[in-house]
Structure formats: structure tokens, C-alpha cells
């Protein structure tokens, strides 16, 4: 079926806009789109989006992570073997992490990473034919915010929810930051790490994030004040 931008699409649909744009110049195809011999076809159900001038993608619902280069992910160290760590990032096979890809790590100076630790890392290699590889440094050799996450709590959610709360127009983080302080790391693999001053506050952050999945912006604001008042003990 022929569809337009911002329409609801199903796999097998195609859009003439992408094809005509492709004739004129370069087009960037995001997730959910695939070029076949004659046309660009949609491969995922969701909503077709466009960002000017010529980037197209499909917003879809997904829970399982498929690695993609450059994304920040949260992984669990499952195994230490020789000079690499195996890190579970929720994809079909565990990602590898060299012990040298930490800030200031040398052969002598090994990073302190234990099995069971939670890591915030960047996808360096993500190809369908290769094992994914992650690193805990940026291209300048600095760790930035990457590395081992201590304490706090990690929970799983759908990939959409991560994208939703990271969207600058989403009022969730804006609303709760006013209420109580917390730290948060969102992995694009559907894992979110949270930490706050007390256990209750940490649970409140998790509660607010999970509850916002199906809510509209106004409802989110309402929900956040509601949670804050529970936290403050106004509501019994």
C-alpha cells in the first residue's frame, strides 16, 4: 500500500516520497526501511517519520535490542576471559569489551571490573555478521560518563520508552528533576539505571519512568506531581 509521511505503516508498504527524493539526491534510511531493487519498502509496523531534508525512519514498538553502532548501552559483565570481558547487552550474543578500552588502562594497569558489574558503554562495532564490541572510552581516550555504574538499580523496559524519555520534548525528566535529585543512565538497549539519595526515591524514579510509557505529556506532569506528593508523605 502507498503511504505518506506520518501515516501508520505496515511492513510491505512503500512511500513515493522516499523514491522521488532518492532520484534527486541522497536519502538517509533509518530503522524500519529497506531498499530493494525497485523501491524502498517498510519493514516494521509503526509511524513513518521524516526529518528535513531527507532522513526517513519508522517509529515502531520493540522490546528486543538489535545492536547498532554508536548507541550508548547498559550491559552486565557475565564473563572475564583473558583480555576481554563478555558483556550481556540484551542482544542475541554477548558483546565483547577489551580491558584496554577504559580510560588510562594499560597492560599493567587493568581496570577494576568484576563479573556482575553494570557498565555504561558505547557500541563500537555493531554489524549483523560480527560480534558486537563495546568500549568505555570516547575517541579521545576519555571516559566521559561511560564506565562501571555503582549501586543504584537497573530495570528493563521497552526500547520506545527509552527513546521517549530521552526525547527533549518529553516532560518527564523536566518534571521530576524539580522534585528530588537523582542520577540516571539510559541505555538504548532498553535498560535504565537509576540512583537517588534513598531507596524510596530510587523506586519513585523507576515508578515515574515506567508509568509514563502510555501517558500523554500532560498526564505525565500530573503523575509526577502525584508521585512527588506520595514521596513527601502528603498522600497516605
Amino acid at each position: 500500500m502507498k503511504v505518506e509521511v506520518d501515516d501508520v505503516v505496515l511492513p510491505g508498504d512503500f512511500s513515493e516520497e522516499i523514491d522521488t527524493a532518492g532520484e534527486k539526491g541522497k536519502v538517509i534510511l533509518g530503522p524500519g526501511l529497506r531498499k530493494e531493487i525497485d523501491k524502498v519498502y517498510i519493514t516494521k509496523a509503526g509511524v513513518l517519520r521524516k526529518r528535513a531534508p531527507n532522513t526517513f525512519w519508522v517509529d515502531s514498538y520493540q522490546k528486543r535490542y538489535v545492536p547498532s553502532r554508536g548507541e550508548n548501552v547498559i550491559g552486565f559483565v557475565v564473563q572475564k576471559s583473558g583480555d576481554i570481558f563478555r558483556v550481556d547487552v540484551g542482544s542475541s550474543c554477548p558483546a565483547t569489551l577489551s580491558y584496554l578500552s577504559f580510560e588510562n588502562a594499560t597492560k599493567k594497569n587493568r581496570p577494576e571490573v568484576q563479573v556482575g558489574d553494570v557498565l555504561y558503554a558505547k557500541m563500537l562495532v555493531a554489524s549483523k555478521d560480527m560480534e558486537p564490541e563495546i568500549v568505555c572510552v570516547d575517541s579521545h581516550g576519555k571516559k566521559g560518563r561511560l564506565g562501571v555504574l555503582n549501586e543504584g538499580f537497573v530495570f528493563k523496559c521497552s526500547l520506545n520508552l527509552v527513546r521517549k524519555i530521552l526525547n527533549p520534548s518529553c516532560p518527564l525528566l523536566e518534571s521530576i528533576k524539580n522534585e528530588w535529585p537523582f542520577e540516571l543512565a539510559a541505555g538504548m538497549n532498553g535498560r535504565i539505571w537509576i540512583k537517588a539519595n534513598t531507596m524510596r526515591e530510587t523506586i519513585a524514579v523507576g515508578n515515574a519512568i515506567l508509568a509514563s510509557e502510555y501517558l500523554s505529556d500532560d498526564e505525565i506532569k500530573n503523575m509526577c506531581t502525584n508521585i512527588a506528593s506520595i514521596l513527601a508523605g502528603h498522600v497516605s
Binding site: F153, T225, S229
Partner: protein
């Protein structure tokens, strides 16, 4: 079975909130998740959901030869299957330890406790008896499978009706449901298995969720005293049918007494719910209302996605916001709003946001800003 990995950070957090008196989903220690029972169109088929854990049970019957040693008793057979539908870590057509464990527990609870009148299942002594087969299929494994599966088995057995038979001389006629009203199974008592998670050898959690089940038996660096899972089988007369402890050894037996005590009330409650739903279902069927599993599909809410219970929840959080009653509260908060926030969300790296204190920073924020500088 694929290995499922839990990070030390999750383990520590669960241990710590539980020792502080909270639970991740906001329940009290002795609070269970929401129990729902729905019936299919046939007798003896039901889906039981305990929170997000969902189990399908179906009872079927056939005429077979009785066992040599018990020539006048029918046969009860329980079969548990856990397919990849339950959770991705399970493999198809493969028996796991969990399947065997579950099967054995249910057999103990329903076969060995003699709750079913097997003699009434006899048609011709030494020749023909009814054999009841209970098929338990796990649809979604979100913790406490034992309790959910046992409620499902009990409900389907109590709901099941077998066709009536008449004997004339040597021949036996089995009547279809249309010809003659089917006969319900006779249950002497209604046993139910309950699971308790024991944390740090002295905290008792009823109806543990998946993560609590995984965490309770494993000790961590911070908490080395470990616990385990205690299964208590009990009927509505507060009679104990089975006890099973897996995990670490208990050095304090009073916790078992505590578990049995709280199990007694909960069992009564569950059995009452089961009886009530079966009664309701019966009256519905008598009114010729067609009962079907399609009733569990909710199409009334706007989304076609199923709405889940939150697995991280504050104690008093209510998903359906009471919008009108706390108007005052909202106003109160609006008054406070103009005051500039103490914290600021700054986009740091792509895909991350961080809250930085403008003043009066908490300690952990300082640590993170220190790490920023180097």
C-alpha cells in the same frame, strides 16, 4: 535452558530495600499480587493470572484400564509444560529442572494428598476407569509459578465435568454433553501451594516476583546470609499437605511456623475465590451465556497494547490517578512552582541527561561532578 544473568547491582538493591521493609513493586511483605481467573468454553479449562504470571490449565478425560494394584480407582495425571512462550530463556520440547520440580510439587499436592475421589472415577472394576489428565501450560513466567500453577490446576479440576455413563450389562454408554448433564469431579478438600521467599533467614515474603525469586537464594558481598524459597501446600481446613524448601538451610524453624500461619489465611481466601468464580461461571452457563477465552481480550481501552502492572512501584501509587480529589493538592503544588528549580537537566553526552544541582548539592552529585573534571 539459556542462562539468565542478574547483575550485582540488582541483587544488592533488592536485598537492601527488603531489609528496609519495602518491596520493589510497593507491596507489603505478606501482600500477594492480583489474582484473576477466567474460564474457557469447555469444562475444565481456565487461565489463571497472578500479577503478570499467567498459566493455562486444561483437564481432559478418557477411559482406560486401571492399574493392577488399584483396580477400582481412576487415574490422575498431571503434566506441566514450559514453552519459550513463558520466557525467552526456555527452549522448546526440553524438560528443565523447573518443569520437573513443578510437576512433582503439583503431583504431591493433588495426587498424594488424596483430594480427589478417585474411586468415583471407576466405571467397571479392573476394566474401565476414567483417567483425568491435567495439562498445565505456562504462558508467562513472572515469578511464583508454583502458586499460579497450583491455583490453575485446582480451578480446572473443580470446574471440570466428565460425561455421564450408563452401564447395561457388559456395554458401557458414554453420553455426550447434550444427552445427559455431565458430572462434576468430587473434591474432598481444596489444597493450594503457596510460595514464600525467605530473605536473610528472617524475612518472609509471600508471592515473590521473578526478581525476588532469583535474588533470595543468592548472597552478595554486602549480605552473606542467604535464604530460599519455601512452598507450603495447605487446604481450606488449614491442614498442611506439603512443605518444600529449596535454597539455603534454615537455622531458625520459627520462620516455618510463621509461613504456615500466614498461609492458612491466604489459602482460605484463594479457595473462596476459586469457589466463587466457579459458582458465577455455573450460573452464567445456566443462563446460556457463552463463555469463551475471547472475553479476556480487553478492547475497551484506547490502546491495543496490554496494560501492565508496574513492577517498580511506590507503596501508595495508584495508576488510575484520582484526578478530582486531589485538586487541592495540585493547587498547592502550583503555588510552589514559580520557585526556580534547585536542579538543572543538562544534556551531557548524546542520549544521556544529567541533573546538576545549582546549590545545596547532595554528596553523590559532587562525586559525579568531580569525575567530570578529570
Amino acid at each position: 535452558m539459556r542462562y539468565l544473568f542478574l547483575s550485582s547491582c540488582e541483587k544488592n538493591f533488592i536485598h537492601r530495600i527488603i531489609s528496609e521493609g519495602h518491596r520493589l513493586d510497593g507491596r507489603n511483605y505478606n501482600e500477594s499480587r492480583n489474582l484473576q481467573i477466567s474460564f474457557g468454553s469447555e469444562y475444565g479449562s481456565c487461565i489463571v493470572s497472578l500479577g503478570e504470571t499467567k498459566v493455562l490449565a486444561q483437564v481432559t478425560c478418557e477411559v482406560t484400564q486401571p492399574k493392577q494394584i488399584r483396580p477400582n480407582e481412576g487415574i490422575l495425571y498431571i503434566n506441566v509444560e514450559i514453552s519459550p512462550m513463558a520466557a525467552p530463556q526456555f527452549e522448546a520440547n526440553r524438560q528443565t529442572d523447573l518443569t520437573v520440580y513443578l510437576n512433582r510439587l503439583l503431583e504431591k499436592c493433588y495426587k498424594d494428598s488424596k483430594c480427589i475421589d478417585l474411586e468415583s472415577l471407576c466405571i467397571v472394576v479392573e476394566e474401565k476407569v476414567w483417567s483425568l489428565r491435567v495439562d498445565i501450560k505456562v504462558l508467562n513466567h513472572a515469578g511464583n509459578l508454583v502458586e499460579c500453577a497450583s491455583i490453575a490446576a485446582l480451578t480446572s479440576l473443580a470446574h471440570f465435568k466428565r460425561p455421564d455413563v450408563t452401564r447395561s450389562g457388559d456395554s458401557v454408554i458414554i453420553h455426550t454433553l447434550v444427552e445427559k448433564d455431565p458430572i462434576p469431579t468430587v473434591l474432598y478438600h481444596y489444597p493450594v501451594c503457596l510460595t514464600f521467599a525467605i530473605f536473610q533467614n528472617n524475612i518472609l515474603l509471600s508471592d515473590p516476583s521473578f526478581i525476588e525469586e532469583c535474588v533470595c537464594a543468592s548472597g552478595t558481598e554486602e549480605v552473606n546470609s542467604s535464604g530460599g524459597l519455601l512452598v507450603v501446600g495447605m487446604n481450606q481446613y488449614r491442614e498442611l499437605c506439603l512443605l518444600n524448601l529449596s535454597g539455603a538451610a534454615l537455622y531458625d524453624s520459627s520462620i516455618v511456623h510463621k509461613a504456615i500461619k500466614s498461609a492458612a489465611d491466604r489459602c482460605k481466601e484463594i479457595v473462596d475465590t476459586v469457589k466463587k468464580t466457579i459458582m458465577n461461571d455455573d450460573t452464567m452457563r445456566q443462563k446460556r451465556v457463552r463463555i469463551n477465552f475471547s472475553d479476556i481480550i480487553t478492547s475497551d481501552h484506547v490502546l491495543s497494547l496490554n496494560k501492565k502492572d508496574l513492577n517498580i512501584r511506590l507503596k501508595n501509587y495508584n495508576a488510575d490517578l484520582p484526578k478530582c480529589d486531589d485538586e487541592e493538592m495540585i493547587e498547592e503544588f502550583e503555588d510552589e512552582k514559580p520557585e526556580p528549580s534547585k536542579y538543572d537537566v543538562v544534556p551531557s553526552l548524546p542520549q544521556t541527561a544529567e541533573i546538576i544541582a545549582k546549590k545545596g548539592a547532595s554528596t553523590w552529585i559532587e562525586i559525579s561532578s568531580e569525575s567530570d573534571e578529570d
